[in-house]
């Protein structure tokens, strides 16, 4: 067959006058452990690019945490109904709200994978040399990056409201790690559910249904000590509680169980990644 078909666009597709030499050689494949960090980076870059094109989400998502701090936080600071161990309630609340808004973003980000499937983006990524687990890990960290940016916004709001936060860089690094791990878990949780229910309507419903219990069934708003026994049990298996505990310890300096918190979050993230990657191929069918 001839290379130049009889077509009414003579100038457009003549290969001779353009340089395509790079498209003749396949790129050298990364192997072994290098694959996962490379895919994580690729997914995070995409998220940052999207954020650069459209920052509205960043602003609209700042409204809710601001209202929580401003209205709920200020009110309960005044009425002193919740035992916080001597610190102002607003200070007590701020790490909880950081964790909450990061969790909302991560859960919603995981839900987006259904959109990506319906729009063909996911299918194409699944045909690239990216193991399922690397793709899920990449997505989990991309969710983490998004949450992290949100966390910075909430930290700034809290600081403006006069919350006494730490500015110790090491502690802030710890905060970033906690938010990243927590978001990795929550995004994988919703990707796992996506792999089970497979349609956006069902997933949206479930997404709505799990965020509130996760939030209220944690120590984000009140200490575990005021909870009834059954809620205490829920809080004990809720990764959000460990995230909040660590954030409070790092940012406000309340007594925390950092080793335990990091351990639980890391294990939860690893389990989430495993579960989501084993269900991911269901989304390809």
């Amino acid at each position: 067959m001839s290379a130049a078909p009889a077509a009414p666009r003579p100038a457009s597709a003549d290969p001779a006058d353009r340089n395509l030499d790079l498209l003749l050689v396949a790129p050298r494949a990364r192997t072994g452990w290098r694959v996962v960090p490379a895919r994580i980076l690729a997914m995070c870059v995409v998220e940052l690019q999207k954020l650069r094109h459209d920052r509205t989400e960043l602003y609209t998502r700042a409204v809710q945490p601001a209202l929580w701090l401003l209205i709920y936080g200020e009110t309960f600071t005044r009425i002193r109904a919740i035992p916080t161990g001597g610190i102002p309630y607003l200070d007590y609340l701020a790490p909880g709200i950081i964790a909450q808004s990061a969790m909302f973003i991560a859960i919603f980000y995981g839900i987006m994978i259904i959109w990506e499937r319906d729009s063909g983006i996911l299918i194409k990524l699944l045909v690239t040399p990216t193991p399922r687990a690397a793709l899920v890990t990449g997505k989990a960290f991309a969710a983490g990056v998004k949450s992290l940016i949100q966390a910075v916004v909430v930290v700034v709001i809290a600081a403006l409201l006069g919350v006494a936060l730490t500015w110790n860089p090491l502690r802030l690094l710890g905060v970033a790690a906690v938010v990243l791990l927590g978001s990795a878990f929550f995004s994988c949780l919703s990707m796992t559910i996506a792999g089970i229910v497979l349609t956006r309507d069902r997933l949206m419903g479930i997404g709505q249904a799990i965020t509130m219990p996760l939030f209220f069934g944690s120590n984000a708003l009140y200490p575990v000590s005021v909870m009834p026994g059954w809620l205490r049990a829920v809080s004990g298996i809720n990764p959000l509680s460990y995230e909040v505990d660590a954030l409070r310890g790092l940012l406000i300096g309340t007594p925390a169980h950092l080793g335990m918190d990091f351990g639980v979050l890391a294990i939860a993230a690893a389990l989430g990644i495993t579960a989501a990657s084993s269900l991911l191929s269901r989304l390809a069918r």
Binding site: A4, A13, L20, L23, P27, I121, P129, P131
Partner: protein, 278 residues
């Protein structure tokens, strides 16, 4: 035809079968695509073309021994097969919230293009499909034809040896269709890659494909060059009028909507595909 690769067969399917529950979507598909050619997989709605492509591209799991891509079995060497493939799915699949260039760069990244040559490679892929000028616009503002060309660039950036195009011209106007084919052919001439393409447009298959396979109910029912298929039918009919490839298609697939293929669901899916990316 351009230079034949050292390995003569780009793709071999032997008894390829895949079922969705009771539906035998692909049912004993035998197919050989020679390296360097453009092979057209034709067939009515629901024939199993997309399912076959998804088996070859490792999206659907198939047992070992059914498929070989340049000698590699997708069941055993999934990553090796994926590195050889460029894939454009039936539905429009660019990310509307990224620019054209970012869309292509993502695929350069996930195919391990080194940072040193990434920008240049992405630029060449965009140049190959004439999107250099529109490269920094959001893909959401592209027309259907531009999106198809962008997807082509995404597939090309990793220098695949087998390009799998599932209905690349669906929903496009005649000029955009010609343009997509021009670019496919130009790239093939420049790189010598093999192309497997599905289409509903018989005139396209006739004009652009070296070989075509007519698929119906999960199996190849007729195979050859467009010329061979047409003269075959002419001999069988014994008439003097020269049949078109469309006559061959009708002969194989039966006239009108078939009881099994072309269900409402299939047509609806095709329609949805034809609409723009959101």
């Amino acid at each position: 035809m351009s230079d034949v690769e050292p390995m003569a067969e780009a793709l071999v399917c032997r008894g390829l079968a895949y079922s969705f529950g009771e539906t035998k979507a692909v049912d004993g598909l035998d197919l050989t695509v020679a390296a360097g050619e453009v092979f057209g997989l034709l067939g009515p709605n629901g024939a199993g073309k997309t399912t076959a492509i998804r088996c070859i591209t490792t999206l659907l799991p198939v047992p070992a021994g059914m498929v070989r891509v340049f000698g590699h079995d997708p069941a055993r060497e999934r990553m090796a097969v994926r590195r050889l493939l460029g894939y454009v799915p039936q539905q429009l699949s660019a990310d509307a919230s990224l620019t054209g260039r970012e869309n292509v760069a993502l695929f350069a990244r996930v195919f391990d293009v080194s940072r040193r040559e990434r920008a240049e490679r992405v630029a060449q892929a965009l140049e190959a499909v004439d999107l250099t000028e529109a490269a920094d616009r959001m893909a959401g503002t592209y027309s259907g034809g531009m999106i198809r060309r962008l997807e082509l660039a995404q597939a090309l950036v990793s220098a695949p040896r087998l390009l799998m195009l599932d209905e690349p011209t669906i929903g496009l106007d005649p000029i955009a269709r010609t343009s997509v084919w021009d670019h496919i052919n130009a790239v093939r001439a420049a790189t010598g890659m093999t192309v497997l393409v599905t289409t509903h447009y018989m005139d396209e298959a006739d004009q652009y494909c070296d070989h075509v396979g007519l698929m119906h109910r999960g199996r190849i029912r007729a195979l050859g060059t467009p010329q061979e298929l047409k003269s075959d039918l002419r001999e069988r009919r014994g008439g003097t009028a020269a049949p078109t490839l469309e006559d061959v298609f009708r002969d194989v697939a039966g006239s009108g909507l078939d009881a099994q293929g072309g269900e409402f669901r299939d047509v609806r899916r095709t329609r949805r595909t034809a609409s723009r990316v959101s």
